[in-house]
């Protein structure tokens, strides 16, 4: 993981939904390994669509996205799953399986490395069991190992989700509004977790955020989207407060 892996190249990517709505409009981005990128913009500006295009939870209509020089937009079947395995993701609603234990949720992040049968029988290697413990330890949730996921608070669930994502041994870490349903204190914990992954493990982190102060605090680079277009892209040293009024300007045709 220390190797400079985790580049994301977005090349002339557009996404038009079936109803004609433009989700992304000719986006070009070159994200280097180890960057902490925060994507800001109004709701409906295309932040989620962009993130979901990177691991292809959404298909794009035009252009290419390369993860460490592998084209995920063209990949199929096993090849697609192999690329996805290197891209971890956490979500606004955590997306844990509520009825099962924290441990089983964490192992869910590793199933991409196992055959259907092996994973179904829970035949995880000793190494991966240790990995699960380490990842839970890292987010301070090891004592909840046997707890059911739905007994945890929102912040705890998000931290378990981070541990689950880490099980993928990813090179790129996506976070789609990870703190939108959390209180300020847990917000800081989750953002600090992401920061540590970035700094200690050299992981590329791409986060969608609504909060400008948080973006300025954590990002190494800020990207602004408006109406599906890339309207802003600066390293943190060059970011000025006044820049945000432009990104957050209401669009006249304000489409979703």
């Amino acid at each position: 993981m220390e190797s400079p892996k985790g580049t994301v190249k977005i090349d002339h990517v557009s996404k038009v939904y079936k109803n004609g709505t433009v989700g992304l409009d000719d986006i070009n981005l070159d994200i280097k390994a180890g960057e902490f990128v925060v994507v800001v913009g109004l709701s409906g500006a295309g932040k989620s669509t962009l993130l979901r295009a990177i691991n292809r939870l959404h298909d794009v209509t035009d252009g290419h996205i390369l993860i460490d020089d592998e084209d995920i937009t063209e990949a199929k079947g096993k090849q697609l799953r192999m690329i996805r395995r290197n891209i971890a993701m956490i979500f606004q609603n955590f997306n844990l399986v509520n009825r099962v234990s924290v441990a089983r949720n964490v192992f869910n992040g590793r199933v991409g490395y196992y055959s259907s049968i092996k994973s179904a029988l829970g035949l995880y290697s000793k190494e991966d069991k240790q990995r699960a413990e380490n990842n839970l330890e890292r987010v301070n949730m090891l004592d909840k190992y046997y707890t059911r996921a739905d007994e945890l608070s929102g912040g705890q669930q998000q931290r378990v989700a981070i541990a689950r994502a880490m099980m993928q041994s990813p090179t790129v870490f996506l976070a789609d509004e990870p703190i939108a349903s959390l209180d300020p204190k847990t917000t800081k914990m989750v953002m600090d977790d992401l920061k540590r992954l970035n700094e200690e493990l050299g992981m590329t982190v791409i986060v969608n955020l609504h909060s400008v102060p948080l973006a300025r605090e954590y990002a190494s680079r800020i990207i602004g989207l408006r109406g599906g277009k890339l309207v802003y892209d600066e390293p943190i040293q060059a970011v000025k407060e006044s820049d945000f009024s432009e990104i957050y300007a209401e669009e006249s045709d304000g489409k979703d």
């Binding site: 609603n93 844990l96 994973s119």
Partner: protein, 260 residues
């Protein structure tokens, strides 16, 4: 207070639609009453005679029906279990959120609709014709009957799951089988078990009369005692069935509450 209410048109004002619906239903019911001949003589004497004889159950008959009653419950258990196992793959194939291929989805749903359209007694008659008289026919009938019913209950449960975990597993590079095992099944297990028990309740009741058609179980004894006018024995059979149904319903309800 110069505000005026919006105008209602004639049909709205007099609730014409509701009025027509009520008149139509009344006509259909009146017609049905006449066709069925519900006004024909009802023999109260006969009715009370049967009640009187049944009021003195022949308890010595009880040991005879224990075995058939157990067989009835066993038929219901085995039939429900087989039906459920068959229903799991089909219900997944009939869920819009799992099966993205519209063609396969509609074929599977059409097939399930047909299966569900066949009444249990007809299934029993068919199975008696195929495998012969005996509990095997009852098991077959209940398997198919449970399969049809459970498939629908199951796929409706699968369609209400939270899609979030499915998205998370997909993002982690899981294949579709793994997504189903780890993101779908854990969300529906309790509902599945609850529907299994509910179907078992229904099947225990249904299986008591399958014997009428020779499909095994206690129904045969119901038929025999009735046709020989041994109402004191019929009473025992009915009491036995009642006891079993109450016990099974009780256990099942208790478990289903625990599952909810």
């Amino acid at each position: 207070m110069n505000a005026t209410l919006p105008e209602r048109d004639f049909a709205q004002k007099w609730h014409l639609k509701a009025l027509f619906a009520i008149i139509l239903v009344a006509i259909i019911i009146a017609g049905s009453v006449q066709k069925v001949g519900i006004e024909t003589e009802f023999s109260w004497d006969q009715f009370f005679q049967i009640w009187k004889e049944m009021a003195h159950p022949d308890w010595s008959y009880f040991p005879v029906i224990v075995q058939p009653i157990l067989e009835t419950v066993q038929m219901a258990l085995v039939g429900t279990l087989f039906g459920t196992l068959l229903a799991i793959p089909f219900s997944l194939m009939a869920s819009t959120n799992i099966m993205k291929n519209k063609f396969v989805l509609s074929v599977v749903r059409f097939f399930l609709n047909i299966v569900r359209a066949v009444p249990d007694m007809l299934l029993a008659a068919v199975f008696v014709a195929i495998v012969g008289i005996g509990p095997m026919a009852g098991v077959g009938a209940l398997t198919v009957f449970s399969f049809g019913m459970i498939s629908k209950l199951f796929y409706e449960a699968v369609e209400t799951i939270d899609e979030g975990p499915v998205e998370a597993l997909t993002a982690a590079g899981a294949n579709s089988v793994q997504t189903i095992i780890f993101a779908v099944i854990p969300q529906v297990t309790n509902q599945f078990l609850s529907y299994f028990l509910y179907t078992l309740e229904i099947n225990v009741r249904a299986s008591t009369v399958l014997g009428y058609l020779g499909a095994g179980g206690v129904g045969l004894y119901l038929d025999q005692t009735l046709s020989m006018f041994l109402y004191d024995r019929t009473a025992i059979v009915i009491l036995g069935i009642l006891a079993v149904v109450v016990v099974v319903d009780g256990i099942s309800n208790h478990l289903r509450e625990a599952l909810a």
